[in-house]
């Protein structure tokens, strides 16, 4: 088993969903997380990230607001998943509800010290 980082990117919704729709979205997400957890794939539930952020760039160390505006998908949070290989980690990500809202999940293997 190896560890993988899921980076969730979501497109901010234009319309305002109703409370009922929001609750349903949340329950979908919980269901997916619970199913990962039950099968032993959920190593760390992870964290959501506050929007807006700052970006510090270059040797000038310029600080700008971001990273939005130019990118339509904003990182909304991350989790750590245990999977056999990258293929399985990607397969597991297919159940993520973020996809239904037009977002995506970036799946990256975490490098470890032991070779």
């Amino acid at each position: 088993m190896s560890d993988f980082l899921y980076i969730y990117r979501m497109t901010p919704a234009a319309e305002k969903p109703s409370p009922e729709v929001m609750q349903q979205r949340m329950q979908k997400w919980m269901k997916w997380m619970n199913s990962l957890s039950e099968k032993g794939h959920l190593k760390e539930r992870g964290h959501p990230l506050e929007q807006p952020g700052k970006v510090v760039r270059g040797s000038q160390k310029t600080v700008t607001d971001g990273p939005f505006a130019e990118t339509k998908d904003v990182v909304g949070g991350f989790s750590i998943i245990a999977a056999k290989d990258l293929a399985e980690a990607a397969e597991l990500a297919k159940g993520c509800p973020v996809l239904e809202g037009g977002g995506n999940v970036e799946v990256r293997q975490i490098m470890h010290m032991n070779v």
Binding site: K16, P17, S18, P19, E20, V21, M22, Q23, R25, M26, Q27, W29, M30, M33, R45, G46, H47, P48, G76, G77, S79
Partner: protein, 418 residues
Amino acid sequence: MDIGEHLFRRESGRMVAALTRLFGVHNLALAEDVVQDAFCRALEVWKFRGIPENPSAWLMAAAKNRATDILRRQRTAKRFAPEIGRIAESESAVEPVIAELFQPGVIRDEQLRMMFSCCHPRLSEDAQVALILNILCGFGVAEIAAAFMCTQAAIEKRLSRGKNTLAESKSLFDFESASDFAPRLGAVQRAIYLLFNEGYHGASPEAAVRAELCEEAMRLGAMLREHAPSSTPSTHALCALMCLHAARLPSRTDASGNLSTLFEQDRSRWNPQLVEEGQRLLDLSAEGDDLTEFHLEAAIAAVHAMAASPDQTNWRMIVELYDRLLERNPSPVIALNRAIALAQWKGPQDGLVAIRNIQNGQKLQEYVFYWAALAELELKSGNRDSAQSHFSTAISLARNDLERRFLTRRNDQCTTLP
């Protein structure tokens, strides 16, 4: 840990009511934005960190924090409710006022105040019901449109007009100094009644949607009962009526999901607790000398609830109650229901005569159950051809598949019945 069904929707009404009191009714949109923010936050945080121990309290705290931020940032007191706007001038006063406003008892009163505010006399009944569903019950535009079988654009328009009227009214309904309490209570009761009827007889083919509307109406009715000034005999009668009808909801469709009439329903599926609660409320309503339409309708429902079968129903009493209802409200739909009861009491021919004599009967031409009733009575009188012709008209007016299936089945029985 799981959260209650419709938790967000329920909490939405509570939070919007409290925040609108805080920001002033002209800032209703701001209150709604704060609630939306609280839900967005909950959605993001709970997704990752799990559902908190007390989800309602978490949501309230999120809304409170956001409201505190806004009040601190917007020092221009004038923008907020005059009586509460002052607090924004001294920073230390913000938190205690908000804490006070979010006490459970205070929120309950604010919900009631919002309900009364939504029933502003300048608004149509349709707009009042839509506002209540949106603001107090947390239904979105699409959900209201689905429940009323309207377009989203129509509901959107209705809501924005209603909210503009609310904003122009400058202040929320004031229970203490209101001289128009009684008429406003009447409007509120009427809106709840319409909401319930939309659920009970409504056009939506989704049984679940309709049951939710009934449930919401009953919840709002219970709120009226909990508050001394609005807990009047007519409120009890309205709540009795809703309980007694709601008791029959489970049997309105049979095992295969088809509509079944009062005459065919399996009465063992009527909810005994609701029947009992309805009877109890009806007893409570018998006080004072105010006899409302709700009293009469609840009494009719109680006669049905007490009867073990259609044959054992006291139809004579039902006809008499409909007569008294007609004295108050000469509606053709009530007259039609009276005619159906009369047919049960005296036979189908008397029923048909009564239907022909309905005043303003032309208003019923587009009403699906008018044609269905004619068809049923013709069938009982042995006139299969005219029964079928009436059923065909009814089928062409059916509002959804459920009704269409039901009427088609009855139509087919015209030829198969011995």
